[in-house]
Symmetry: C2
Subunit: 358 residues, 2 copies
């Protein structure tokens, strides 16, 4: 894809990349579903606000789900074959930390409401910047940006340091309003940077899952702001929902999907004399099932058990689980992942792998 001297795909030109430690390179794409990444001065170009998101999330599923979902939204606007993904280089750690704070005299840039922690909820919990680049005259040039904003659905707070944690459920209408206002604010700030003045900037709003959830939250709105617009508008609602199965409440989960999963689960739990735990994350877009991640946990006493169990899981998955959606299945024991199965959309059979050791 690139032929310049500076921009070499690592897979194709390693004599170069291994000896030179300066300049910019891109990582060869090995799967059309992934973006190429950027290597600078010999290392991967990490985000300027690296690590802040990790600290901001008591539930790490809100971090993984947020980032994966944001990549999915970005791909719709900046296709993986046309753009290179650069981890956020325009908003650094200090800035993100200021923006995630409350607005106050000491922190005029805070994007959360002014006020006391015990009275006024914090809405903005995490943010992520993704830069989309193309090659231009032997250098990478920014051509688009996506900003994800993670908003609390529940505000967790303490009345005193180390005291009990209280929680307050936030209204959807308040979450939406706050999210859009914050996006507007950020858009105006970003447009002040000469390089970002005329590029499309996409905002995506994410409602964080509760801290005890076994699945992340969901994106509920996005807005594409073409070059020079300084007020985010054209908000589009996104109907994306993630559920855990077996479901505590069946609201939102299609009955057929739930039955399929229950049948699969019952078959799996029959396999061993000892019981297996079987849970799933179910991913819905516009009320239809678009993917499942299944976790199976059980105790194994040997490799033959793992191999037989994995083959059995594949048979049952092909028989009971919904077709035409991507499905990942992880089989774990207390010692970690023992095998895994994965089927892409459109495939009939699962890829299976049993982890072994010499």
């Amino acid at each position: 894809m690139f032929s310049s001297v500076l921009l070499v795909a690592c897979g194709n030109n390693n004599e170069n990349s291994s000896s030179s430690s300066s300049g910019t390179q891109v990582i060869s794409q090995t799967n059309s579903n992934y973006y190429q990444g950027v290597i600078k001065d010999g290392h991967y170009l990490t985000s300027k606000s690296r690590g802040v998101s990790v600290q901001q999330n008591d539930n790490q599923l809100n971090l993984k789900g947020f980032e994966n979902g944001l990549l999915g939204i970005s791909k719709q606007h900046f296709p993986t074959d046309d753009y290179i993904l650069q981890e956020g280089q325009y908003i650094n750690t200090d800035t993100v930390e200021d923006w995630l704070g409350r607005k106050s005299k000491n922190n005029p840039d805070g994007l959360n409401p002014a006020g006391k922690d015990t009275k006024e909820p914090l809405y903005l919990q995490q943010m992520d910047e993704q830069d989309f680049m193309t090659e231009d005259h032997n250098a990478l040039k920014i051509k688009g940006m996506t900003i994800g904003l993670g908003l609390n659905s529940i505000y967790y707070y303490r009345k005193e340091a180390y005291g009990a944690v209280y929680q307050k459920k936030l209204n959807d209408s308040d979450i939406i309003k706050q999210g859009k206002d914050i996006a507007n604010n950020i858009l105006q700030r970003l447009r002040k940077n000469k390089q970002l003045k005329n590029i499309p900037i996409v905002f995506a709003l994410y409602k964080q899952a509760p801290n005890d959830s076994l699945v992340g939250g969901n994106f509920f709105a996005s807005s594409v702001n073409n070059g020079s617009s300084i007020k985010s508008s054209n908000w589009k609602s996104l109907n994306i929902k993630n559920y855990v199965l077996p479901a505590e409440s069946t609201k939102g989960v299609n009955n057929n999907d739930e039955d399929s999963f229950e049948n699969f689960k019952n078959q799996i739990q029959k396999f061993f004399p000892n019981l297996s735990g079987v849970t799933a994350q179910a991913h819905y877009v516009d009320n239809s099932l678009r993917g499942m991640h299944i976790n199976i946990t059980t105790q194994f006493y040997g490799q033959s058990e793992i191999i037989s169990f994995t083959q059995y899981v594949e048979n049952m998955a092909e028989k009971y689980l919904p077709n035409n959606i991507p499905i990942d299945i992880q089989v774990s024991s207390t010692e970690g992942m023992q095998s895994f199965l994965s089927r892409k959309t459109g495939d009939k059979n699962f890829y299976t792998h049993v982890f072994t050791s010499y």
Copy 2:
């Protein structure tokens, strides 16, 4: 493959298997490299000595490596397309525990030398029975058996309960002699069972790795005993060795293989500003490299890092690692496995999978 009423492949006839809870069924083979397993009365037919091997191994790599290696040896004598694997049903927990013990007045069947723990080393550390079945008149019938014997290379012992652990390195010639004598003893005992009187019984001797090893031990001899023979003979030496890379001592590891791994490792460790740990298990048969399992551990701060790193690992693996051998690569953080790559013998590209969450 099976068409009888009792023996139904689970994948093909589940109305049957899910309603009936009696009779014997086989698990459909999903990969020609795996044996079909046995379901009995609705559950997987687990080994009669289930769990004993787990207790016997302070280093669980000696368990995984032993079982995987034994399956490999079994496949040479009982091909996966012709035989069904039944976990050991002839030697039960009590018997295995007696046999693994020392010979004494109270335990005349003990296969380890009589004597005091402080004077006389224990040789036999673990054993595994694999039964190979075919269908015969609507039932499974045993047609062959493999017995693996795990022998200590280092004898660990205490002089008093809860005291310091001492170790004594055992001589190869003693290990070989003990292993063959024990196999002979077991063969004579098994032949007393009418069902096992006339089947081929394969013995395989395994030298356990030290407790602190990052790779399991290795099989060093095998013997095929055709129907009715009651003295194991025709011992064949096996030249199978497993090493850890980077190697403490380069003895046994081919220089080119070591250089390939070193180059790969150096490229991986350049990727992040933070350092990655890169180790490998290298599997040699007749002094030539037959497979590698690579473990990469590093800290990730987000999904984009994991995706880019995984693509980079694939590029570097295809460039630097030896061709024409199976290679598995696991990429982990303190939170568990984040991605994995696998290439089969003969394949050019790696299968890659990044573990995600909704």
